[in-house]
Symmetry: C2
Subunit: 489 residues, 2 copies
């Protein structure tokens, strides 16, 4: 009996979110009982943490210290690096069980959680020789996978320890940052660990209502977080490869050399071949530079970045554009930023983390990879819609569920804001325009500005659609090749 890995992973995230919901429900928030968050909002928050999205429909300071701890665990267990490590352990367990008998390639590509497509991974055992060789290699491969899984664990522990220590030191040394926590009654230890886990897993929740806006003058803190963001997501394959290099250099073990040379055969989607890692790094840095230039050109003298020094503006802008790919922490109010940049952010949020520019030969391999994979797949996988089609359907659904508000309150409920919210949930980013009473055209006397996301003002159905989008986004790798049977001509 073979469970489809998609269902395993979906079950994992639903279980995680449900456990999160129950523990948030069972414990008391900081607010008075009359302002208790609704069940749907608690579930939304739990899903948002587990899928590392950081979309919010509740202000963060509502949560008590113990609830923040629960959220920390959700973010830790939901993060990409952590789940990929679980995947490695599963692969190992499965290979052990099979006892090297079946080197079933079509299956190994499907094992575990790391479902980034690996073209060229499936080598048909055309010649007998190769197949014998392969079986001999199997034991060595198993050992390499074991070592790799420990390496990933070490990477995780080390980065988290380093990150939270640095943040703690910064908070103790810089009074302006420390005072913020004191004023808000936040535990410094909780804050450091929460923020480290949130940043490394690229979730983007921060225990303060204002997210990072309140720290926009604390450039040092931002500079600690930027490498954490990159190490935990877009540049993870690069840092992983560097770690293996380092370990190989230190220990001279053959397994590390094997990992470096046969990156794809290990079946760990985050370990990319050397050339590919270089292209990935260039692409990631390229996107950051382009965004930074556009951001500085359009926002240098704008309202959004006013009140801080030139140096703080540069660091803040850098922090903001590094966050647009996946993390979604903010130092500037997005609703004050020019729409041209919002459109750019929508594109950046849409791009999957390992988007990279590859020269022609590689691109051809991709095509071959598609073909060889295709044979093993069933009909339904081919008539799946593409990502963009699903996203459009979700956006249209939200436009329908929120149609009353779109008529009454067109400046808050406009299509750009909805698109940004949906793509933000799909990309598991967490950027939001928010909701502002000032933008209401027919002012509603009872309106109070709240520091949660735009989705917080949506109807229950709208929030439910967004929960689905967050799950869909977290599991998007399974649909990456969807819509291939549609031909745009």
């Amino acid at each position: 009996f073979q469970l489809n890995p998609f269902w395993i992973e979906l079950a994992y995230f639903i279980t995680l979110s449900s456990l999160g919901f129950l523990s948030l429900k069972a414990t008391n928030p900081r607010t008075v009982s009359s302002l208790l968050p609704k069940d749907i909002d608690l579930f939304f928050t739990s899903v948002s943490a587990a899928t590392v999205s950081s979309m919010s429909t509740v202000e963060m300071e509502v949560f008590s210290n113990i609830q923040l701890v629960f959220l920390t665990f959700l973010m830790l267990f939901g993060g990409v690096v952590f789940t990929s490590m679980l995947g490695l352990h599963l692969t190992r367990a499965k290979m052990n069980r099979k006892g090297n008998i079946e080197p079933d390639s079509s299956d190994s590509s499907h094992d575990s959680n790391h479902h980034i497509d690996q073209p060229g991974m499936i080598t048909n055992p055309e010649t007998e020789e190769k197949s014998i060789e392969k079986e001999e290699n199997q034991g060595f491969k198993l050992k390499s996978i074991k070592i790799l899984s420990y390496l990933v664990l070490g990477y995780l522990v080390l980065v988290h320890a380093l990150g939270s220590t640095l943040i703690s030191i910064y908070l103790s040394l810089i009074p302006s940052a420390g005072k913020v926590l004191k004023r808000k009654g936040l535990n410094m230890q909780t804050f450091s660990i929460f923020t480290t886990v949130s940043t490394f897993s690229n979730c983007g929740f921060v225990p303060t209502n204002e997210n990072m806006v309140i720290f926009k003058k604390n450039s040092g803190l931002l500079l600690i977080l930027i490498p954490l963001i990159l190490m935990g997501n877009t540049l993870y394959p690069v840092f992983l490869r560097l770690s293996i290099f380092f370990m190989e250099f230190m220990t001279k073990r053959a397994e590390f050399r094997y990992m470096l040379k046969n990156s794809r055969e290990l079946g760990y989607g985050h370990l990319l071949p050397g050339v590919h890692s270089v292209y990935l790094m260039i692409t990631v840095l390229g996107f950051i530079v382009v965004q930074l230039i556009v951001f500085c050109l359009l926002e240098w003298n704008s309202e959004a970045t006013s009140g801080i020094s030139g140096y703080e503006k540069v660091v803040g802008s850098l922090f903001q554009v590094v966050n647009s790919r996946h993390t979604g922490e903010s130092v500037f109010d997005l609703s004050a930023i020019s729409q041209a940049i919002l459109v750019l952010f929508v594109v950046m949020m849409y791009l999957p983390p390992y988007t990279s520019f590859l020269p022609i030969q590689e691109a051809e391999n991709v095509c071959e990879g598609v073909k060889s994979k295709r044979k093993n797949k069933d009909f339904w996988e081919h008539i799946l819609f593409s990502q963009l089609t699903y996203l459009t359907i979700f956006i249209i659904l939200i436009c329908i569920t929120e149609r009353q508000q779109m008529k009454k309150d067109p400046l808050n409920f406009n299509v750009l804001n909805i698109v940004l919210e949906v793509i933000s949930a799909y990309g598991n980013v967490g950027f939001t325009i928010g909701y502002s009473c000032e933008r209401q055209i027919i002012p509603d006397g009872q309106c109070k500005d709240k520091l949660y996301g735009f989705a917080g003002k949506w109807s229950g159905e709208g929030k439910f659609v967004l929960i689905v989008v967050m799950f869909f986004g977290r599991l998007k790798n399974y649909n990456m090749r969807g819509g291939r049977a549609w031909r745009l001509l």
Copy 2:
């Protein structure tokens, strides 16, 4: 010396647009001299007609009878069917010149104007036998192409004659429609021919300011136009194939049989193989049905469709959704339509005309086609961005050129309206939200509602970007495979 067909086609459209501009400039409009359209608007209109976009920055009733005739020629010469016929003649001339000596496949795929990708067309002459057979076939192929080009000419003439006759008869018989023309001082003959050419070429200009809104109760007229729209664009391959069937049945000539069997080898991109034609038809009708259902569900009792009977609503809705793919004539005011449908329309406008759903085997051929083609192309073609990336860049540019207005007048200048305008220009559709003085938040005393597109209120730079987008959209087939070297992972 071999000119790249992209440059030939670009030169064709720029020449056509420039000639159009000069003739519009040289003749007098109907308005008094103080309201003469600016040069950029005349050029915009000319480009819009030549690229069959029907984007407008001038009210249509400004143009005098002779100017409408000029526009008719622009639309006729710019239409897809007409340019593809020119392409067939060019192919024939080139094959004649070469005298069947070089059956150069890499070249023949590049000939002429019909640059829709034809995977599987390039058959490598692997075996000697095949290559000899091919040369024998060459003469027959040449003859078939000749006959095909006459067939296309006949199709063009017949459909135009039939269309304008039917419209003339309708206008003479139905007083309500005839009166509109009289009131507006439009020549009935000009109106019939202009509308037929505009509809068949899928341009979508109508000599009235209100486009087809003024005829929303004339369901008969709409029912005449709907088949014209389909025959001239999305279903042209189906009707072309049916015509060949019919001719084969009538004349029993071998050339027609050859065309039916070797559709792709003729190198005429609009002649698709039988199975593909069937899938195309299913896809086109499927899109229409889905749109019609959504439109009727959301708009049955809305403001936009008020004041007409149920039957007129159904026909009007059908007309509106058939127009969303390419033609862009409107019977309902788009600014009154719910935003969910606008998002759906944006998707429909974006889809290239021959988008179709293909079963798996065909999809694999596509992949093979890509690979065999790839070898002949140069580096630059691979690092071209994808269509969506270019469109995003254009949208961001417009957000920058119109940033002042976006702040002052956010209900008119919002991102959805800009996206709709840009995608409309890219798809050569012509839908627009327009501009409404009522939607101004800070009312501007001098504002007067005009019946031209939203782009009419843009700055000169914005209009210029949109002109570029229209050319880009008309020539989009050359970039269809752009961005392949980018890997979204």
